[in-house]
Symmetry: C2
């Protein structure tokens, strides 16, 4: 049920059979959320954390003028709010961009794990640290890259993250998000997203039709993004 999480943790460090069992048992039930519904609302104090088993979701914040900024995208195997275990009050919402299947992990389980399994605790902590590393890279992209470079960067990142959980086919991935959502992620207007995407297409870097995005020229895309995958920390860490 939570294979994606187990394999994700194991990519970063070894798990004993016991630990593997503990993690699998931590998902006490599954919840389905419709597209465009909140998985967690801002201001809530969840008593459980949500693990992505299927679909795409986004952490976001809405300002008083109605503008939305997405601060993270989540796919299979990602915890959307592991931090709420310790941070208590949600300072942002999480919305399902597509229909999502969510594994529910009660905070009581997490507390028990952190009391008894130091190795597992470190791996869960590591998971939230990688979220932080991605946030930092996004900050760099927002602050100092062009809209085109930023967009290319995000595409590179999403591809590697999806590849790590076996959700790519060759150079293609399923990317079920709209250009408006992409704009809220990149911090630019929908219109400009459209122009940037067309530029990426006309440079022969990507094909994106419907939900299928294909990277036609990896080197070119990586160069446009100045992409260095170190920050995703895909190898063994512990």
């Amino acid at each position: 049920m939570s294979q994606a999480l187990v394999s994700k943790l194991e990519q970063r460090g070894p798990l004993s059979a016991e630990e593997r069992g503990v993690i699998e048992a931590a998902v006490v039930r599954v919840r389905d959320v419709n597209a465009d519904e909140d998985i967690v609302r801002e201001g809530e104090c969840p008593t459980e954390s949500s693990l992505m088993l299927e679909g795409f979701s986004a952490r976001y914040k809405i300002l008083s003028n109605g503008r939305r900024q997405i601060t993270a995208l989540h796919v299979l195997g990602d915890f959307v709010d592991l931090h709420s275990f310790l941070l208590k009050k949600m300072d942002h919402g999480v919305v399902a961009l597509t229909p999502c299947r969510i594994g529910v992990v009660p905070h009581d389980e997490l507390r028990a794990i952190t009391d008894r399994y130091p190795n597992l605790t470190r791996l869960l902590w590591l998971n939230t640290l990688i979220d932080g590393a991605i946030h930092r890279e996004w900050l760099v992209a927002m602050g100092r890259r062009s809209a085109l470079g930023h967009t290319a960067h995000l595409i590179c990142e999403l591809f590697l993250r999806l590849e790590a959980v076996g959700r790519t086919q060759g150079n293609s991935m399923n990317l079920p998000i709209t250009q408006a959502e992409l704009g809220d992620t990149l911090g630019i207007s929908t219109v400009h997203v459209n122009r940037v995407v067309q530029e990426l297409r006309s440079q022969g870097l990507i094909t994106w039709r419907g939900e299928k995005l294909t990277i036609d020229n990896w080197d070119g895309l990586r160069a446009a993004a100045e992409f260095d995958p170190t920050y995703i920390h895909l190898g063994r860490q512990v």
Copy 2:
């Protein structure tokens, strides 16, 4: 020696006398770093983490075109690279913006703590989660706020963080950073920083002369920033 850290952790959750002793003992030595020198370099795999005891420092990344983006500012009591304990390889550098005094905490100590003191582990984890929360807020500010709002927001944040460690005097704080560094933090040009700061001054919101910044109109500044301090998670969490 590491009182600031102890009191910072205790703001978020209770520590036993033993735990307090363990944390204090974790700082095995003190290191001084000159202004404009790196505390940690990108690409390194540190075997110890650095705790700020004095001064201001910044996490940053430099792109190939020479543009720099600062992704975090650190003050007294902040760990600049606690994440390197688990993330191993630094995906960014940390530079001293002023002369800094650094408390050195070996990763061996952290490992021992995480093996034996679950409560302390959770508080350290929480510390890195707050870093992440601040990153998210910065993403929102970069993506969706005007340069003026963004600047006002950062000033509000820094004031509260400095206040939490007793480094404010009334409505004033010591802010020893240049407008160029502020630009690298906000993701805007130095020239534009200057114009924004002058606008904040002319609106009667702040006074900033030399290193001393005074907030002359808190409500006005907060309104300009649309500042909501929830994300700094200053209260008790555990």
